[in-house]
Each structure stands twice: as C-alpha cells, then as structure tokens.
Symmetry: C2
Subunit: 338 residues, 2 copies
Amino acid sequence: MKRKIRVIQFGVGPIGASIARLVREKEGVDIVAAIDTDPSKAGRDLGEISGAAGASWGVLISSDASATLKRPADVVIHSTSSYLPKVMNQLLSCISAGCCVVSTCEELAYPFRKYPELSQQLDSAARDQGVAIVGTGVNPGFVMDKLVLTLSAACQRVEFASASRVVDASKRRLPLQKKIGAGMTPEEFRREVEAGVIKHHGLPESVAMVADGLGLSLDQISETIEPVIAERLVKTDFLEVSPGQVAGVHQLARGTSAGHDLIRMELKMYVGASDPADTVELRGTPSLSLTVPGGTHGDLATAAVVVNSIPSILAAPAGLLTSRDLPLSFFPGVAAKR
Amino acid sequence: MKRKIRVIQFGVGPIGASIARLVREKEGVDIVAAIDTDPSKAGRDLGEISGAAGASWGVLISSDASATLKRPADVVIHSTSSYLPKVMNQLLSCISAGCCVVSTCEELAYPFRKYPELSQQLDSAARDQGVAIVGTGVNPGFVMDKLVLTLSAACQRVEFASASRVVDASKRRLPLQKKIGAGMTPEEFRREVEAGVIKHHGLPESVAMVADGLGLSLDQISETIEPVIAERLVKTDFLEVSPGQVAGVHQLARGTSAGHDLIRMELKMYVGASDPADTVELRGTPSLSLTVPGGTHGDLATAAVVVNSIPSILAAPAGLLTSRDLPLSFFPGVAAKR
C-alpha cells in the first residue's frame, strides 16, 4: 500500500464513535468523511462527537449521505442499525459509490437464511461494482462464529457446536444496562421483550453461519429471551438491582435437526455476573473447547473486529461476504510486512 | 463445485497416512494418486500403507514423482520433510504440474525470514502457474500462529503475544516418545539436541508470522531446547522413565526487540505432563487470553488442519501463502453451502 486507506464513517452512535477513535489511531488510514442522519450532529466535528481527546479532527459530520459518498474512498464503516431491511438503501448507496463496506448491522453478519433476496441483491450489486461487503463485530462476527469455525479447523469431524458468552454488564454503559432490562420487574422485562426492545441481535445469524460452515443441516433455528433474576443486591455506577428484580438477559439460540440441538449459542449479559467468559465447545474427533477468561469486551472488541477487518475486506474477492470468508487478524495500521 | 476435488498424496509416512485416511472420508474429494520415495512402499496400495480399515483403495503408491504428477489433479498434499531446502524440488514440481499445494513442511509455514530467496522462488513459480501453496499443520500453522492472530482480531492494540502448548506424550506413538528424548539421560538428550535429532520444528516460524501479523518489529528470534526431567516414575505403553531421566522436551522460541521479549512460543512435550493445554496470551487493549483444555492432539489436528485447508487453498489467490492468509475453517467434505 503506497497511499493511505480512505475511510468514510457512516453512523456516529456509541459504536460508530468508538470505531472512529480506533481508526484514527491507525497510521495507514485516513477518515475522509462522516455521515450521521441525526440533525444535532450535522456540521459538527467527528472528533468532538466521537468523544476523542484533543477535539477537532477537521472532519465534519454530514447528514447528506449521497453527497458525502461522492468523495473518493476505499471503505465505508457502517454502523447505523441492527436490521438489514432498514439499512439496505444505505448499504446499496455505499456499494454504488464503489466502496467496500464493513458494517456492524447484526442481521448482515449472515443474512442468507432470513433474507435470501436482500442477500442476493447485495451480492449482485457488490460484484457489479467489484467491491466486498461484510457484516461483523464481536457477536455476531467473532465469538460465536469466527472463533468457533477457526477452532473447528483442528477437528476431523464435528457433530455439535456451542458458544457461550457470559458478560458482566456492571461496568458497561448505562444504555447497555438499561437495554438488558437491569432493574426491571420480570413482567416489565417480558413486555419489553414482546415489544422487541430487549434483544441482542445476531445469535440466529451465528447459528446459521456455524451450521453451514460445519456442514450441519438444520431444520430449524429458534431463539428464547429470558430474564436473569438477581439473587442478591447488585449496585452499579448507574443503578441498583434488588433480589427478585431482573439483572439482565439470557438469550439462547438453537439450531436443531429432528428435534436435536446441533448448535447452541448462549448469551448471558447481566449485572453482577461472577465469572464472565467466552466459551466454545465442539463435539467430534477430537472434541475441543476453548475459553477466553473474562470474555471479550463488547464495545472494545466490536470496534477492534471492525477495524481489523479493513485490510481483509480490501483484499477480498467482490461480493457479499461473512466473517467466515475473511482471514481475520490484527491490523497493525500500516502496510502489511513480510 | 460440480466435480470432486482431486488430490495427490505426496509422502506416506505416519502423518501422510493419517491425512490420507481423513481425505478418504470426505465425499467431495478423491485421492487420485500417491507418491513415496521409499522403495518398500512403491507399488503397494495407499489404503494398506495408510493402515486404513478395509484395505485396498485402488490407489497404488508410486516412487516416480514426475510421472505421477502428470495426472490431472487440483491439490497435492505434501508431507515428506521438515526442511524447506530438502523439499524445494518436490514443491516446485508440484507447482509446475499446476497443482495447489498444502504441505506439512514446518519450515514452509513462514519461510520469509529464514529463506527469503527460496520463498521468492516458490512465490514466483506459484504465481506463474496460477496456484497457491501453503505450509501448515497444528504447530506451526494453527495453535501458535493462526489461533493467536485470530484472537488478536478482538484487540485494539497488542504489545506482546505468547502461546504455550503442553503436550502429554504418554499416549502418543513410540517414535514420538523417542523423538522427544523420553528415557534418555540428560547428557544423551543434549547430544541428540546437538545432533539436531531432538527438535520440534516450526516455533521460530510461528514467532515470525505472529510478529509480522501484529506489526511487532523484532531484532532477533532465538530458540532453546532443554530437557524436562522426570520427578517421578512414568510408565507408558512403550517405555519407562525414572526420576532424573528425561521425560521430554521443553522448547522456547523468543522474538525480541532491544532485549525485551515481544513474542514467546513455548512447547513442553513430555510423558506424564499433568495439565496438557494450549494457551494463548495477548497483552494490549484489551488483554485477552484463551485456553484449550487438554490441548489439540498433534497427529489428529495436523491431519485436520491440512485437510480443512483444501477448500481455502483452492479459493486463494495464487502465490506462496501462509495460514495467516487463509480463512481457515472445518471442511465438511462436500461443496460449501450458503
């Protein structure tokens, strides 16, 4: 790489901001523009909105996506919504602009099962433009799929796969603590689940990616969302949870064949979780498991996975890809050496 | 993939045989020919020599590599030696035949530092022929490099990396137990190290791959080979080791910059090891570690990694690649689904 990689940041919410701060650290990458539809951010400096120390970066946030995407760039980092249908037009406009796309849209991580037509549309558009697009992050995109499939490379046969992620939400942002229902009554929690408010997106996507990667044929993918009930008083910097109240969320996605679980992906995210860890288990020849004690930090790791995907997506063949297709690794930020 | 992937097995020692048995299980792959220079194997059936249950596969082992490589094939699985200079002609003849190559040659796993000219020669030849070549296996190729780099994708910054592999050799093949010096006196062990007989190949290759992947600049890679001394009597199916005798080998490869370790790769392979495990540690933001309890089984996992690399090497761009470049995953043996 002779010249710097030019990045457009599309979406400057908390995740987009943490991605922008990390991109900014990479010597070989320039953020050339930023887009956010929030009128309160338009015209303001990306550095300021990203909460970066040292303020102004000289990159103003624009609410006009089409105009901004006319700037020459190599990659758009896209972080606006979890729902694929909602972001289709945004993604297609990035592709039309001739940019590769790395998106945190959870439903894009493995969209083939839930949205076959949209997947086809994105794949065709990307191939026509000679660019690659991927949805990724820590989960989906890493712990429950990429890491599982990477470990499976040491197996001769695999008949079952699971991943579990236990996250202690005590130290996380207040919006996250609220998003998992901490402090609610079980009834409030269930209403919020019903309303689609409490839900971590992407578990079924990981189930589908792993099933296809392992060649395990599923007749169904199902998902449950239950409260984790606090057994003792838990205090965080932001809130208190009494025994009997909701401490957080327990989501389980299962991929089944003839009533048997072949894949299980489990997320427990609650305040006061005592042994946070990411765990992967493969049953086969040989059976293998791995544990990441403490687990991967959701916000830090999502930004990391997204930014570390930049060189792979630029080197990848055109089309709609998934984290399974990319040789993911740390991106030192300067041209790769040998 | 409409037609089956055609494989030529080049080298039918214990590892080549275990690879051949695994390839044979994959529906979408045919072993079309086999090569071994050992005259006692020439003309005999690959199934028989591979120790497969059910004997004959109808594939005769030939000692004539050039003649055999004239057969149309997609991939050569190469497993003849640990030393790159020794296998250069074999690899070049595979490439000239228009085949992709997956080799267990440890020095090929990351040859750029030790053999820049040979690397260049292989890369040019492979590009000329439009094929890809990789050296891989469980170690080097997976535990101490691919797994480390995959985990690093969840890090924003990395300043130190290590991997440790503790293997209990008690249950392994007798040749392996002998190869690690089990039952020797410390003096015998040191003579065998001196003579180059006791040595697991590939640790410096993993150090170099990880350093380059993480963008950590090293001034030196060094390696030590020490005996693990038995503290109690250890009996295996094949031999006995008394206290004070050698139980196995402890190898440590270090990548240093200005006298500081930036990378440490450690292998302890001995009879009676009580807590076998593979462990990876990254220090950075965030610091992350992972453990594979029990560790990956050397023979099973090497065959697995090699066979699982087949679809990636066929899809990869032409040239000399490393496991770092390939999106490694389980290969179900049939055409990839979405």
